[in-house]
């Protein structure tokens, strides 16, 4: 149970060393005098320490070399199966995405507001799914999974190819 002392956000920020000095001194003095807040602080400190100590995955010895090799080759990490099976459909989807972007692009600031990278990516994905409706309705599991893989390819495509998904995208804006 938290008392009427400092807000719990300040208690956590104090534990994390993120309070200005004057506020930190005030919280420290209160915690020193208040058993309830000491218990509260102990539990919160422990939860933070445990998360910090969670196991860490270590990259394999050749990880950096693999990254450098694929970046030099300009290779995408994976290629979808359906893209290999029906390249024309995938190409049509990419072209449709570019056309839509060009049609909407000039108007979007004035009429629609700026689309986020996520919205642009969703439109590209929807277009691609529309292009592959037949496979979605009657395809095998492998074909369906291939469509999902192709969506990855659209995401990873260079902006001049996909049109809607800049390499910097929402990840780096």
């Amino acid at each position: 149970m938290h008392c009427d002392g400092p807000p719990i956000e300040d208690l956590v920020a104090w534990l994390d060393g993120e309070l200005p000095a004057a506020d930190a001194a005030r919280v420290a003095a209160h915690v020193d005098a208040c058993a309830a807040c000491r218990r509260e602080a102990d539990g919160l400190r422990r939860s933070g320490e445990l998360v910090a100590a969670l196991p860490r995955a270590t990259p394999s010895a050749d990880f950096a070399a693999r990254v450098l090799a694929s970046s030099r080759a300009g290779a995408a990490p994976r290629r979808g199966r359906l893209l290999r099976l029906v390249p024309a459909a995938a190409a049509a989807a990419a072209v449709a995405a570019v056309l839509l972007w060009r049609a909407v692009g000039p108007q979007r600031d004035a009429e629609l507001g700026v689309l986020t990278a996520s919205e642009e990516r969703d439109i590209a994905a929807d277009l691609y799914l529309l292009t592959n409706l037949d496979a979605l309705e009657s395809g095998s599991a492998d074909e369906l999974i291939g469509i999902v893989d192709d969506l990855d390819v659209l995401e990873a495509a260079e902006p001049e190819v996909a049109g809607l998904y800049a390499a910097t995208s929402g990840d780096v804006r």
């Binding site: 998360v51 969670l54 990840d171």
Partner: protein
């Protein structure tokens, strides 16, 4: 550019065409990127796939890179978004697989990185069990709470860098971190008191 960010210097050298700078950047960040990705996708192998995509995105973005924030916040943002995309793709695949007869949807429970099957002394087994319990608790947090907690406590980013990586205000991150810490503590308490892992 932030004055005290040697990592941003590396990226600027890379933008100017120095491929060695990119190699150094990969070496410098690979541990943090793989480690954080693994907290989302579960296995070290899947985390390396995500990490590879992260570095390829950085490679592709070099011409548009502007050092407006510390490089580490930018790399962490890409890592979080790429990891969440990977999780979404995995969910779609599971849904597709689950609806197709004769296909294995997978157990849905990735192993912790430590080898939990190996014979261990009791203390080590308890550590592994605690890590597994904690991982389930952290995984169950709302997405933004989990990301804020991992960036701040697991990756060691300051509140300010966590806010920059998540593109949120400082008060918003402070609030997320508080709720995350309270939720983790409350969920962990029964296990710490009784020793019985939550269902």
């Amino acid at each position: 550019m932030p004055d005290d960010d040697p990592d941003a210097d590396l990226m600027l050298r890379f933008r100017a065409g120095d491929e060695d700078a990119f190699a150094e950047l990969v070496r410098r960040f690979q541990g943090r990127v793989v480690s954080l990705a693994a907290r989302y996708v579960g296995s070290a192998a899947d985390a390396e796939d995500v990490a590879q995509e992260v570095f390829l995105r950085i490679h592709r973005a070099r011409s548009t890179y502007e050092p407006t924030a510390r490089l580490t916040t930018w790399v962490h943002r890409i890592t979080v978004n790429t990891s969440l995309n990977a999780l979404r793709r995995r969910r779609v695949r599971r849904n597709v697989s689950a609806e197709m007869p004769g296909r294995d949807a997978g157990s849905g429970e990735p192993p912790e990185f430590a080898d939990a099957d190996a014979a261990r002394p009791d203390e080590e087994s308890l550590k592994v069990e605690l890590a597994q319990v904690l991982r389930r608790i952290v995984d169950a947090l709302p997405e933004r709470q989990r990301t804020a907690l991992l960036l701040n406590k697991y990756q060691g980013l300051s509140y300010e860098d966590t806010a920059a990586a998540m593109e949120l205000s400082l008060p918003a991150v402070k609030s997320l971190l508080t709720r995350a810490r309270v939720n983790v503590r409350d969920a962990l308490l029964p296990y710490l008191e009784s020793g019985t892992p939550p269902a």
